[in-house]
């Protein structure tokens, strides 16, 4: 077999020169050490992983090692990593990069991630993996640094674009790769032009079920793996949304994609304890809620009905939240859903509310838990109120919002971990915020999109969580909140379902806009009874079609426990 052999001769000349010059010569011990060092660094086998012994301070989970091995040995270094949230895709990517670097197969690496994650990736690669990654800040970095982390938006813009496209990369890593599903976008086109030997696409959103997305993503990774557009359509497309020969396609996709699920990882996940906490509105709160509900009967447009639902939800959260909305409506004077006098009368009712029954309940609960608690609410006004309210009772809390800069998020997390009992958050805080040192979550009000609840819980129910996780769902009795809780909790078993399942089900049945379904039901129903019937239908649709397993979380946990012992 004809293989190119490169015999490096730079040693020769220097050696001959030393013979002429009669030295200098090394000492024997160092000479031996140099050879020993090289023996330690040499790669004994084509297969297997070297990286773990270079990273003794990291404990890899079995599935993470398996992913790295599979990507390198079976997928030839081109793969879609699609593990469920929380299983450590970043770790897997770091491990693969490290392995290629140790083997001398990669030097130049480009890591494209959302702008908010650039620093986190850089720190993690440096601190955990000793990979000298640099966050792209100046344009010379592209050429001068070997391992660069950047946002795709920066990289694709001039003057960077031309420089980046000119580099020969050994590895390209793209986080949140599901955003590249549309081939008509600038991002897609940009990534298509990158020169890459090895490539990792990271996504938590499974793509199996969308015809075009799967084709585009795989074609970016490995053009031709699914054929070209024409024969792909012929082989696999049924119509715009659905597929044929699904099994065959799945086999093909699985050659380039790895997806681990929590329940398959064999890990002992902490248990989830979910508890509904019913709350009775006080007389003044009830009066306010009912008055707002009555607005629905006014003969106005659908738009105003939507406003009614918004107000109902807000009142269930705090009078402050509702107050803000009404104040805005009054100030806007024109084009309002409701006449001013009605708004003013509601304002009066708001002023009459003397207590917040939910906050009272939250306070009792926090005091009895006597440990770290995260409260999630949908409303900024409620967040502010709660902070004040808890402070009145001697409980320290820190706020948390999606809009915070990364550094502020980290600082707030630090404050919460070390100095405060409660964190009050308006959203899950995005990827990468890990609050697994906390075991209690209060869902002060419930979002209507089940994925957002999953993200909330995912912040603490993840690898690294030492204890069991407690989730308290607040719902005011005889309000829309009760309907939502009934739907999400009692009917579709959301809280017990295995993470990730829901995502797939919603994707599969185009129920991503489940919020719209819910508000549609709430707006267009004439009576409480009608709401209940329609909610039941929605629930059974999801359950029947999607087949969320009716097994409870604990049962999953128990099954795993026994397979472990």
């Amino acid at each position: 077999m004809n293989i190119d052999i490169n015999f490096q001769r730079d040693w020769h000349d220097q050696f001959l020169k030393r013979i002429d010059d009669d030295g200098p010569w090394a000492n024997w011990e160092l000479y031996n050490l140099a050879l020993e060092a090289e023996r330690h660094l040499s790669i004994p086998e084509f297969l297997g992983l070297q990286a773990p012994k270079h990273l003794p301070q990291l404990t890899f989970l079995p599935h993470q090692l398996e992913v790295a091995k599979t990507v390198i040995e079976k997928m030839n270094g081109k793969a879609i990593l699609a593990d469920e949230v929380g299983l450590g895709k970043t770790i897997e990517a770091g491990l693969i990069i490290k392995e290629y670097m140790i083997r001398g197969l990669a030097q130049k690496v480009l890591i494209l991630v959302p702008a908010s994650l650039v620093l986190q990736w850089t720190t993690e690669l440096n601190q955990k993996f000793f990979i000298p990654a640099v966050a792209q800040k100046k344009s010379y970095v592209w050429e001068q640094c070997d391992i660069v982390v950047s946002s795709i938006d920066t990289a694709k813009r001039q003057p960077h674009r031309d420089i980046v496209l000119n580099q020969d990369y050994d590895i390209i890593v793209i986080d949140e790769a599901h955003k590249l599903k549309n081939k008509a976008t600038k991002n897609y086109e940009f990534v298509q032009h990158l020169k890459k030997k090895f490539c990792l696409l990271l996504t938590a959103t499974p793509v199996q079920n969308k015809v075009d997305e799967i084709f585009n993503l795989v074609s970016l990774l490995k053009p031709g793996h699914l054929g070209n557009q024409e024969n792909f359509d012929k082989d696999f497309r049924n119509d715009k949304y659905s597929l044929k020969n699904e099994e065959k396609l799945k086999d093909l996709v699985n050659k380039v994609m790895i997806r681990n699920r929590r329940e398959e990882t064999g890990l002992n996940w902490p248990k989830r304890y979910v508890q509904s906490i019913p709350i009775t509105l006080s007389e003044s709160e009830r009066l306010l809620y009912d008055k707002i509900t009555e607005l629905k009967k006014l003969p106005y447009l659908n738009r105003s009905k939507f406003s009614v639902i918004t107000l109902q939800r807000e009142v269930c959260s705090s009078r402050e939240a509702a107050f803000l909305t009404i104040k805005n409506m009054l100030e806007k004077s024109e084009g309002n859903a409701f006449p001013d006098q009605i708004l003013v009368s509601i304002m009066k009712l708001i002023e009459n509310v003397t207590q917040n029954s939910k906050a009272q309940k939250a306070l009792e609960l926090i005091q009895s838990i006597d440990d770290k608690v995260i409260i999630f609410t949908e409303y900024r006004a409620t967040q502010l109120f709660l902070q004040w309210f808890l402070q009145q009772h001697g409980i320290s809390s820190v706020p948390f919002r999606g809009g915070f800069k990364r550094s502020k998020k980290d600082y707030m997390t630090h404050l919460f971990k070390n100095h405060a009992q409660v964190l009050i958050a308006t959203e899950a805080g995005g990827e990468g915020i890990n609050l697994q040192f906390c075991q209690h979550i209060i869902n002060y009000d419930l979002p209507w999109n089940p994925m957002r609840i999953e993200q909330r819980i995912g912040r603490i129910h993840r690898i690294g969580q030492q204890g069991d996780v407690h989730i308290y769902n607040f719902a005011t009795k005889d309000t829309i909140e009760e309907h939502i809780l009934n739907l999400l909790y009692n009917k579709i078993n959301l809280f017990e379902s295995v993470i990730g399942e829901l995502d797939e089900i919603l994707t599969k049945f185009e129920l991503r806009n489940i919020e719209n379904y819910i508000s549609d039901i709430l707006i267009n129903s004439e009576s409480e009874g009608e709401i209940r019937v329609k909610m039941d239908n929605l629930a059974s649709l999801i359950n029947y079609e999607g087949g969320i397993k009716q097994k409870g979380w604990e049962e999953h946990a128990a099954a795993r426990d026994s397979s472990f012992s």
Binding site: W25, A37, H40, P44, F130
Partner: protein, 263 residues
């Protein structure tokens, strides 16, 4: 590499570089660096530049390294493990400091003059690379008079007492084969050995390459004018899969040994 092995390696490294060991426990080491090692390891070119300009008293640093769990919380020492950048820096410094050598067998003095035979030894790393990689390390010595080549030469050297200077009552035989020819002979022999090896790894890599290229061609088969990135992708497949073999010399040198059979 186990932690004790690392500890042992570090100690030998510093001692053979003439650094004073200030403190030593089973899993820690505090050393006074020499000027040379400070320049090599501590990455402070400005300090040394400044000293040269001002002629001030040089003050090389001390270095504290831990290889066990017993590192005190307030210490400024570094924890060293197999992946730590410091160890890799020391590895590559070792290689830099010990690429070339000349040694003599230290023959016990028996009153008669003894001839020492010239040997040229190289320790080589041979790497097989495609989208995967494997290294092999070999040590060869060639007798510079009769041309005999010995394998595992470095291992054999371990059984011989060696010294930097030629012992009394010893003299060296002049080589008939020049070092540059000796190197050439070793090179030919190594290449021959490589050709005899099993290269199914390269065949497999070429197969993987062909598969991927086939897919790529199918992807663009209906397009008359292939886009630029088609060619980019094709090139990338070549760099990814094309089998290559690299031979590099780790270190080597001249050894004068008493008995030619022994080498």
């Amino acid at each position: 590499m186990q932690q004790q092995e690392i500890h042992r390696f570090l100690e030998r490294f510093f001692v053979s570089n003439e650094c004073e060991i200030l403190e030593k426990t089973a899993d820690s080491l505090k050393v006074q660096l020499t000027i040379e090692l400070d320049k090599l390891l501590m990455n402070r070119p400005f300090y040394w530049h400044y000293l040269e300009k001002t002629g001030a008293e040089p003050n090389p640093m001390t270095l504290t390294l831990y290889t066990g769990q017993g590192q005190p919380a307030d210490s400024s020492g570094e924890f060293i493990h197999f992946g730590s950048p410091r160890l890799h820096q020391i590895f590559s410094s070792t290689k830099k400091l010990a690429s070339f050598i000349r040694m003599y067998e230290s023959v016990p003095h028996s009153g008669i003059n003894i001839a020492l035979n010239p040997w040229l030894c190289i320790n080589v790393k041979i790497s097989y690379q495609c989208d995967r990689k494997k290294d092999m390390i070999h040590s060869y010595g060639i007798h510079l008079i009769n041309g005999i080549i010995e394998e595992n030469f470095h291992e054999k050297l371990q059984t011989i007492r060696l010294s930097k200077r030629i012992p009394d009552y010893c003299y060296t035989l002049s080589p008939l084969i020049k070092p540059v020819s000796g190197l050439k002979r070793l090179e030919n022999m190594i290449i021959e050995k490589i050709h005899e090896d099993d290269h199914s790894w390269a065949e497999d890599a070429r197969m993987r390459w062909a598969e991927d290229e086939e897919l790529l061609n199918r992807f663009y088969e209906d397009i008359e004018e292939k886009p630029e990135y088609y060619y980019g992708e094709k090139e990338a497949l070549q760099t990814q899969y094309e089998p290559k073999i690299t031979v590099s010399i780790i270190n080597g040198g001249l050894f004068y040994l008493a008995n030619s059979q022994k080498g």
